[in-house]
Symmetry: C2
Subunit: 190 residues, 2 copies
DNA sequence: TTGCAAAACGGAACAATGTTCCATATCAAT
DNA sequence: ATTGATATGGAACATTGTTCCGTTTTGCAA
């Protein structure tokens, strides 16, 4: 790929991410092209459909979310790493007003997103969870899928009134995770 | 209200209901106006915003759904009335692809819909449920809110693959309702 | 029945936005 | 430096929500 093409592609993805966060996924394509400093033709060369651009931005953010998990695991105690990651995931889902809408829209461009979610996010979270469980810092009777689903529901569900409700609910969830974690576990590993 | 105005309003609502069922709530306004046999100006006179028309159609169908409950109660045994109504409600929610989308869109025109749902539907279902419970034909440990929520989730949730899955899941739910209903029940069989 | 003013109507015109197209500009291999 | 392939920008087109206004219809009163 030619250098200028790569540069423009990055600029478009960055601009799209910011515009989607600011104005939602319904923002006009022109606004994104302008913010990226490219023409409409350039944008459409890389993303033939508006939905392709949306999906690409989501994928990129999912990647970023998944890739940060190992870093958190290195830098923090197991449970803290898990908790940090959960909040980061919640922020991602929460920022993406219109993610649920996109997923339910029936547009074929989004068909691959759910499996992409699973494939990228589940291993990332599972590693963090397993580490926290092994360290005796989290209960063992909740698995990665359940956590991903619970957080997604909390953050995407109907009119999450006002400010930080989703964050607070996720924090509650995380507290619950820690609660059953004492060394003398019934179900947990030894 | 002038007779022709009333006639046109009815025609628009009827056409909109059919078009929404066929093409989803994103169908062009022109298509609805054409189907109703009225001009765009007429349609916009009655519904200044596209969203107003959508909300009106939903309200009207909610009303129809609620109003049929007493009729079912008259004509059928208590449990059959309840089961019939549940399927009717499921059909309503299921047909309304884009109901969830509308509810989550943030458009002020839809702000009043959730409370309208509760206000109309909950009493209707509660009456049916109470009658079935009193007759010993349904278990008592599930209330109207839970049922409405469960059915809505089943019917609106992500890509309800293909044909009658939602209906089958609702039927399952209804079977479950009947299951714990015998006079000498505690919490369930051991 | 007829006349008339108010109400309602239809659809052309406007605005916003997704998408296509192609003349022009840029890149990189020779 | 030349040159062919690639990428670019933005004008032009298509679709659709919304507004506007000249025309038609309605209900009432004389």
């Amino acid at each position: 790929m030619r250098a200028d093409a790569q540069r423009n592609l990055d600029a478009v993805l960055l601009a799209a991410k910011e515009v989607f966060a600011t104005s939602g996924v319904d923002a006009p394509v022109r606004e994104i092209a302008d913010k990226a400093g490219v023409g409409l033709g350039t944008l459409y060369r890389h993303f033939p459909r508006r939905a392709d651009l949306i999906a690409a931005v989501f994928r990129r953010e999912i990647d970023a979310c998944a890739e940060i998990a190992p870093l958190l695991a290195e830098r923090h105690a197991p449970f803290d790493a898990l908790a940090s990651w959960m909040q980061r995931y919640a922020a991602f889902v929460g920022t993406k007003r219109g993610l649920a809408q996109a997923l339910h829209s029936g547009d074929p461009a989004f068909d691959s997103l759910p499996s992409y979610f699973d494939q990228k996010l589940r291993p990332a979270l599972r590693a963090l969870r397993d580490a926290a469980v092994s360290a005796g810092e989290a209960r063992a009777d909740v698995d990665a899928d359940e956590l991903l689903g619970a957080v997604a529901s909390l953050c995407m569900s109907a009119h999450n009134a006002g400010s930080g409700r989703a964050e607070r609910m996720v924090a509650l969830l995380v507290d619950g995770l820690r609660h059953g974690a004492s060394p003398s576990q019934d179900i947990g590993d030894t």
